[in-house]
Assembly symmetry: C2
Homo-oligomer: 217 residues x 2
């Protein structure tokens, strides 16, 4: 198994956590340096035409793409420990929480979007930071409401089982740190993020623990 990765990619962070939880060690980790724009190179676009990471090649391929699709793939080929509950409504809740992060928030703060704002709309650095903070906070607020009011919330998003929602919540917390979003208004999210970080599968997958990462960011 080969994974296309970069230390700072929050979507790749989610997949790294899943790999760790499943006990899968990729044979190869191929760096796609987002800060150098390598995701736009023709060689990588042949792997993933969207020009985004992660991408994952298992055996003969073809390359798999989109973090949640890859995580569900890993969950299907190696079902233990499961990353989704069994009941359909519970699965929908977990997938919905994950998608608040992976659909409603993270796609708005990826490099290509921040670059578009800066180049096309001439938004300055402070404006781009405000934009990123706004969408990260919007999702954190929605997660907080769901998790505070949801009867199923436990040590993790859904009871005491680690699910796809926790992988996404952890990536959202890392994004909040990168973009200096105060976690104070989101105590339930923070509690769960802290629980996640006590787990080695999350801790060693963290962006700042990857090759190439700065000492602090």
């Amino acid at each position: 198994m080969k994974i296309f990765s970069f230390w700072r990619s929050l979507a790749t962070y989610r997949v790294r956590i899943a790999l760790n939880l499943k006990g899968i060690t990729p044979d190869e980790v191929i760096e796609i340096n987002l800060l150098k724009g390598q995701q736009r190179d023709a060689a990588f676009k042949a792997i993933n035409p969207m020009g985004a990471i992660p991408a994952l090649i298992d055996g003969e391929g073809p390359p798999l793409f989109e973090s949640l699709a890859i995580i569900e793939y890993l969950d299907e080929i190696k079902p233990n420990p499961p990353l989704l509950p069994k009941d359909p409504k519970a699965r929908a809740r977990v997938r919905g929480l994950a998608q608040i992060v992976a659909c409603d928030s993270h796609p708005l703060v990826v490099p290509r979007v921040r670059e578009y704002l800066a180049h096309e709309f001439k938004v300055d650095e402070a404006g781009v930071a405000k934009w990123a903070g706004h969408w990260i906070a919007a999702a954190l607020g929605a997660l907080e409401q769901h998790l505070t009011h949801g009867k199923q919330t436990g040590n993790f998003c859904h009871g005491d089982q680690i699910t796809i929602a926790d992988l996404c919540l952890a990536s959202q917390a890392a994004g909040a740190h990168f973009f200096k979003v105060d976690m104070g208004p989101y105590p339930t999210v923070k509690r769960i993020a802290d629980n996640c970080m006590k787990n080695e599968a999350f801790a060693k997958a963290h962006p700042l623990k990857q090759p190439g990462a700065p000492a602090a960011a």
Copy 2:
């Protein structure tokens, strides 16, 4: 079953197609008028804190949210006709194609994002239209590459079975129409979108066929 819906919502369009394919008629369709900002009303935010549609309540609830989570729920409670293939790599491909639309593209053009650009960054109408067109085209380009080069592409995204990827592709084609994006450069996407529209489940779910829709948009 109750669905919170609006004629123009592309994410709700996907769910309507799934309901039609599964032969499920909701007992109630509750309009959340996005043009009047009803998605931000406290009453609706108690249903979905993200302030987005669709949301769906089946029986006692709780409300389900996020279109792809709802569609997989419907696929799990009513497995026929299936909206995912059986093979894990095929499922990952279908989910990945769906997520190119539902994660990488559509969240960038929803009302709350266009409103932020206009209000916070003072982007004019032409600029917002250019923004929307850019992200819609980026995903259409990625889909076209996947579908042209993928050996599994058939009458639909994955062979001749209608899958979640087709629901998303149809919503992307409707979005391209709304935002006047030329489909010329994406002949494979267009071919599949045309095949979808020959199916009554897609045709009658189309935004322009819903109550409240203008005669043309």
